[in-house]
């Protein structure tokens, strides 16, 4: 039976916990006006974001606090926040999330000097974000199941019946949707719809680039469509998910060689626009690109002529097909993928 007073104690404890939560929150309150701390919404890989910010703070003395998340989480969050967003700078893994925020008119124009650091094909045509890194589409294959000579000359051929059950791909992510839009930009609507229908019939669906690569490595499926750096990272780690695989680069202008760009932009609502532009200039310029080249991230550098990590196939040998990034991943692509039953 209850001891008298025990319940009162419980209620008091709950009240005390509630009160201390509110107090804690109040203590961690808003920064003062002289505080120069930037808020970075970072959808790039956490480790890379941290390396960049540490070097930036070391060079400029401007502190940066980081909110990590995925492209789609942070992109949708910025749109939901609108003009009230606490973010100053946004970095992504793929350009479509930049287009999402750009389409909601939430970015400020990028400083001219920063834009001049990056070749124009890797930045927004509206001038409101710039490329900060790039990844190329590749086909990962298992040579024990599929000799290199039997790989098709175009990723469009994976839609043919002879590839039934023999090709893996991750249609759910922003990564693959960017590849579909490249196919669409290069080959037109009819070919794209046909390709998607073929992939739906033939392909094995995986959740991510890594899962696709693992499946090929295990021999579950002989080939898969992914981005290059997941493979290089795994090789640098222990090779547990890639030891039985090789990469095929498409340098013949096929959509299989599509180059996807990671972007950076300054929010129009930023309360510290000067410092925010300074951070973006750092990322796209020599110091930031050198941090990327030296990191274990293994994406390609795009800015200020800084060469990529020497472990990678040289950037100049990639010869990606020309694709206008601002047309990527429009509602049309999503509609086509929905029609094909992939989304």
């Amino acid at each position: 039976m209850p001891v008298p007073g025990q319940g009162v104690w419980f209620v008091r404890m709950v009240l005390a916990v509630l009160a201390s939560t509110v107090l804690l929150a109040a203590c961690g309150g808003a920064p003062g006006p002289e505080d120069r701390t930037l808020t970075l919404y970072n959808a790039q890989h956490e480790a890379l974001g941290r390396l960049w910010v540490d070097e930036f703070t070391r060079q400029t003395g401007i502190p940066v606090q980081i909110r990590d998340g995925g492209d789609f989480e942070l992109g949708n969050q910025l749109v939901a926040e609108g003009a009230a967003s606490p973010a100053d700078v946004f970095l992504t893994e793929n350009s479509p999330a930049m287009s999402l925020v750009s389409g909601a008119n939430l970015f400020a124009p990028v400083d001219g000097a920063t834009r001049a650091q990056v070749p124009p094909q890797y930045s927004s045509t509206r001038g409101d974000w710039v490329g900060i890194a790039a990844r190329t589409t590749v086909v990962v294959y298992n040579p024990a199941l599929l000799p290199e000579g039997q790989l098709p000359d175009s990723i469009l051929d994976f839609a043919r019946p002879e590839w039934q059950g023999r090709v893996a791909f991750p249609p759910g992510g922003a990564d693959f949707q960017a590849i579909v839009s490249a196919v669409n930009a290069l080959n037109g609507d009819a070919a794209t719809q046909q390709w998607l229908a073929g992939l739906k019939a033939n392909g094995r669906v995986y959740q991510s680039n890594t899962a696709t690569m693992q499946a090929v490595n295990r021999g579950e499926v002989p080939a898969g469509i992914i981005y290059h750096y997941y493979w290089y990272q795994d090789r640098a780690e222990a090779g547990a998910n890639s030891a039985n695989t090789e990469l095929k680069f498409y340098t013949n202008g096929d959509a299989g060689g599509f180059l996807s760009v990671s972007g950076g932009g300054v929010l129009a609502s930023s309360s510290r626009p000067a410092e925010a532009q300074q951070l973006l200039a750092f990322l796209a310029g020599v110091p930031g690109q050198q941090v990327l080249a030296r990191s274990e991230n293994l994406e390609y550098t795009v800015g200020a002529g800084v060469p990529a990590n020497p472990a990678l196939k040289p950037f100049s040998e990639l010869r990606p097909p020309p694709v206008d990034l601002s047309t990527l991943n429009g509602p049309k692509i999503v509609g086509m993928m929905q029609q094909a039953g992939l989304l």
Partner: protein
Amino acid sequence: MTAAAPLRVVVASLAALLALVPVGYVVVSVVVVGPAAAIDLVWRPRVGELLVNTTVLVLATSSACIVLGTATAWITERTDLPGAPVWGALFAAPLAIPAFVNSYAWVSVLPGADGFVGALVVTTMSYFPFVHLPVAAVLRGSDRDHEDVARALGLSPRAAAVRVVLPALRPAIVGGALLVGLHLLAEFGALALLRYPTFTTAIYDQFQSTFAGPAAAMLASVLVVLCLVLLTADVALAGRARQARVGAGAARRRARTSLGAARAPALVAVGLLVAAALGVPLVSVARWMITGSSTTIDPAALAIATATSIGLGLVAAAVTTALTLPVAWLAIRRPGRFSRLVERTTHLGNALPGIVVALALVIVAIRVVPGLYQTTPLLITAYAILFMPLALVNLRAALLRVPPELEEAAHGLGSRPGAVLARVTVPLLARGAGAGAALVFLAVSTELTATLLLAPTGTATLATEFWGPAAAVSYGAAAPYALTMIVISVPAAFLLTRQVHAGAGP
């Protein structure tokens, strides 16, 4: 006891209103899209596929969990299985392992473990404790005089079990199965990895597409309907028989059923189950620690993330329990249309994916209470919306077993309603509340999406620190966080088994 207890009604209504925020977000999105576009987005073959996948998985996994959870509860509570208490604790322990870690582990051990069969195996291994725990609690706490009377009146042991024991277990089984179902509706990480698309994985896919916000909201609206179906089924199945009694019953020790020749096979079976539910994930995490070249433990970062996860889990558990207590009280003590509406409403948040709940709170909070945006109180609110049913199911079951006559007597002796609640009801509920709070703690310590969007900037929890490296293939770097997540969950899982051992009665 006729007092209106207005404070309780207010708090319960507040809990229901909070749960309606994400539903409101979904409804408004549907309205904005317009009926024609909404029908186009919902009425397509892909949605049919998802509907079949989701329904089949919910039915199959719930059934598997009911069978497995009831069997493990019976064998550990009612038979002479050697080491029964130890096995009982081990059957609660899978709750300490996040479903997505379990899923990673199974995929790395059994590469073919994907699609429906993989999803069924992994989710059953992760969720059967939701049925095991309440059923074991009832089996241990229930007064066996009922069975003895039934036997004395001429029923066979089997008939007594079917006509006396099973009805007493029904609320526990149905409540546990409801939790399994709600978890399955909202599960993302585990199913995504197993290549089994459901509404929730499809909603995440839609949010990854630039312009697919409306399509995601449409899928979420179907999910809300599915959740309502589950809740209705739960009401229909739970039954209304009175479970409480004033007397404590006889405290005699009972002989356990002898397994006889079945003892060896039974031991093998429970051993295999533990190996599947605990061995597979633990061995995999250990292997990542050893083989990954990226295994570097930063003790300071790990300590901060651990402290943050524990702190958030404790506060969220306390707040969620306090918020749901009045809801449970209304549902049991003041049954009626309003009470049922409030109680059912608080379940809705649990069936929606974290991304929907989090985005709804972003939109509402930044406009209505900008001062609270990305602060700990808002994050705790999100946890409460997501996990109220975990606390509620346990509180409701506990309250069902507290005789209202005790409260009425206290009231008759002159106590005010608040004092009755604090001095009579709450102490009698302490164990049920503890179990609910432990479940909330477990859920919070593995929550990812709402934490990413709503935590104060710079907050690192074990779950957020696990996902970053895991998504980047650095399993070695992710492993220490996965291991710590499991370790801090052990006390909560242990608390849940103590709840069983202490019995559910007064």
